[in-house]
Symmetry: C2
Subunit: 117 residues, 2 copies
DNA sequence: TGCAAATATAAGGATACGGTAATTCAGCAG
DNA sequence: CTGCTGAATTACCGTATCCTTATATTTGCA
C-alpha cells in the first residue's frame, strides 16, 4: 500500500524531511545512536561510551527523543534510551556505504587508476 | 566486497556522515534536488521552479556541488546541474516513507485506533 | 569594444546551534 | 527530613547558518 512512485513534495513536507536530516547531522548524536544500536543504554552509559559531558548528552538525547528517533524508559534513578525508529540506522548505513565508495574512488584516482575518473 | 556487517565507526567518520546529513538538512536544497531528480536543469530553471532568489540558489548549488551530490556542466551562458549521487534520492525516499508512516500512526491514534499506541 | 544576460561571490544582519557551567529535579538510603 | 546520585534544565557564549542586497565575473552578441 505504500506509494513507491516518486512524487513531488510540497515545501512543508520538504521542511519536515530537512528537519529529520538535521537531527542526524550532528556527530555526537550519531555516536549516541551508534551506541544505542547495540541495545538499550542508560544516560550514564552513553556518557561514558561517548566521553561527552552529561549535560551535552542529555540535551542531544532530548533532541533525538523529540524527533521520535529514540524512546525513554525510566527505572528508579536511571533513564534508559533505545532506538525507536530503526530506519535511521538504515540511513546511516546508506551514507556510510556511499562514503566508502567515494573514498575508494578518490584513492583509485590518486593511484592513477584510469577506470575511475 | 562491500562490508554488510554493521561495524563501529570512529568519530572522524561520524563527522563525515553528519556533514553529509547536514547538506541534506535544508528545505531549499531538498527542493533543488527534487527538481534535479527530473533531469538536468539550468540555474535559471531552478530559480523559477523554486521561487527562491538567484544568489540563494547559486549558493546552495555550490554547497551541493562541494558535497559531490550534484555535478555542473557549462554550456554558453548557462550552467546545467544534475544529480551526481543518486543515493541521496534514496535517503529522501526513506525519510519520506518513514514520515508518512509516522503521520499515519498519529492519525490512527487520534481516531482512537487501539492497535497503534 | 561595449552591452546584456547568466551565474558566482562578498558583505551584512538575524537566527539557530553546540558546548560548558551552574542549577534544579527526582528517586532512593540512612 | 537530610543527604546523595542520576538526569534534566537553564543561562551564557562563541560560532555557524541562512537570506538579502550589492557587486563581480563570465560569456555571447551587436
Amino acid at each position: 500500500m505504500t506509494n513507491k512512485t516518486p512524487k513531488t513534495l510540497g515545501k512543508d513536507t520538504l521542511s519536515l524531511v530537512a528537519e529529520r536530516f538535521k537531527v542526524l547531522s550532528d556527530p555526537l548524536r550519531l555516536q549516541i545512536l551508534q551506541e544505542l544500536r547495540q541495545g538499550e543504554r542508560s544516560v550514564n552509559e552513553i556518557v561514558e561510551a561517548t566521553g561527552a559531558a552529561q549535560a551535552n548528552v542529555s540535551r542531544h538525547l532530548q533532541i533525538l527523543a523529540r524527533a521520535r528517533i529514540v524512546d525513554r524508559r525510566k527505572q528508579g534513578l536511571h533513564v534508559f534510551y533505545r532506538v525507536a525508529d530503526p530506519t535511521v540506522l538504515d540511513l546511516c548505513a546508506v551514507v556510510c556505504n556511499g562514503l566508502e565508495e567515494s573514498l575508494a574512488r578518490d584513492l583509485d584516482s590518486v593511484r592513477g587508476n584510469p577506470d575511475t575518473p
